[in-house]
Subunit: 296 residues, 2 copies
Amino acid sequence: MRSYLECIPCFMSQALRAARIAQLDDEQTLKLLRIVGGKIKDIQLSDPPPKTGKMIYSLVAEISGKRDPYEEVKREHIEFALKMLPFMEGYIRDAPDPVDAAMRVAAAGNIIDLGARKTVENVQKVLEDALTLKHRRWDIDQLKSVLADAGKILVLGDNAGETVFDFAMMKTLRRVYPEAEIFFSVRGGPTINDATYEDAVRSRIDEVATIISTGSDAPGILMDEVSAEFLEIFNSADVVISKGQGNYETLNDAPRPIFFVMTVKCEVVARHLNLPEGSSVLYFHPGGNPSERMTD
Amino acid sequence: MRSYLECIPCFMSQALRAARIAQLDDEQTLKLLRIVGGKIKDIQLSDPPPKTGKMIYSLVAEISGKRDPYEEVKREHIEFALKMLPFMEGYIRDAPDPVDAAMRVAAAGNIIDLGARKTVENVQKVLEDALTLKHRRWDIDQLKSVLADAGKILVLGDNAGETVFDFAMMKTLRRVYPEAEIFFSVRGGPTINDATYEDAVRSRIDEVATIISTGSDAPGILMDEVSAEFLEIFNSADVVISKGQGNYETLNDAPRPIFFVMTVKCEVVARHLNLPEGSSVLYFHPGGNPSERMTD
């Protein structure tokens, strides 16, 4: 997905939010906003938003002087989510359709903004709400039909913390489809609160899947940046389940079929999907619609 | 009021919104956002936000090639508001306290975002809602006590359209306090949808007040830009009633008493006033608290 004019003020808002989470002081934050402002002239609207996101988060790291300014925040989110794991697993166990329930848990992980919650109790309440949501688009039948014959499943990870929800989801897939090999992708380096290898291990993902790196520290999947190893698995997987909006923004016109599981967090993506902002979806993209960028 | 870090992304959002209202095409809008982005490095946080607002709206005018890119929008808003005038006047006539009712009408004018409404019926409904609002801060008794002895009243105007609400308010003041002379200030030149001389006349304000110019085209009252004539009236008026957030942002620490009538439209001003965003207020600022800027 290209960037839109609306993305430009949003990049500035993202920079400010990132500065706050990384606990930059006011002077550092002003410096960041000034640099990002000056770089707006270089943004190509033909590029997907995570390309600019990557630039912003590199600057946050540089200005903060920390390799991973979100390390502590991510660790907290994972700890929070691990405390909710028994609830998630109970929900899946008690559900009439465990695969559907597992995907709902994975979607709930993307709905919940752990950064904004203060207590596990709150998050459990929000999780309950998320799980009872009527989804406007929920392509579970298509997903189950391809999972039935899948030898190789690739899950594209998103935020740290959400990874624990993905652990519960993949644990279920392993149980229901024991023949399938599952891969889980993490970012090649720290970027915002996106999961890295360490975050995935902390979320116990190594127990249920082979963790692979995208080879890029963009908060999405930029095809001209990912490693050959990632690309091989991406292309050969029988099923790709993509978590979150950053991965959607970079893969929405991918040539291969993808199941997007995410919450729609801005008006631009809402317009793209023709769904209201705030919707949580399991959206089947059939592929076969390569953009110029993808076929380069 | 100084600018805060949160104002910086907001300036970009304002630029985009301004471009839309001025009907710039996508290429012109991108150009605007790039220029504004580059100018972020020059923004002094010690300056009040309307100083940056002025810069943005000058750029919109320059890029659009129109002296007043909002002319048509302002005219529509005034026409809309004039159709609601009988309702406003009826509301004031039927109220037990006409001055209180008149100030509520003036506040409603700032609540209503005429740009977002499509029909007069809608606006009338919103006006009814606005008038029944429980105000969190409503210093009407202080206002009435100074109005009782006032020889000279200055109303600082804000948006075109809102001016019709101000007309109804000032018409009431003239009736209740026939001895007082009323002045109404407009911007020295077009800036956003702020009222200029022509807009005020279209709103019939010349029937109830002497229209004066601030002498500056900032969307607020920048003391180092206003004309000597304006300053003389501002300093000598017995009562100053200031409409809208832009005037508050530039006058919140003025050395003289001011009654601010406005809706709190952002978190920064909400924090400043210690009132929730969206509040509509009649706020008495007693003065005697000059900032460095004001005493320069």
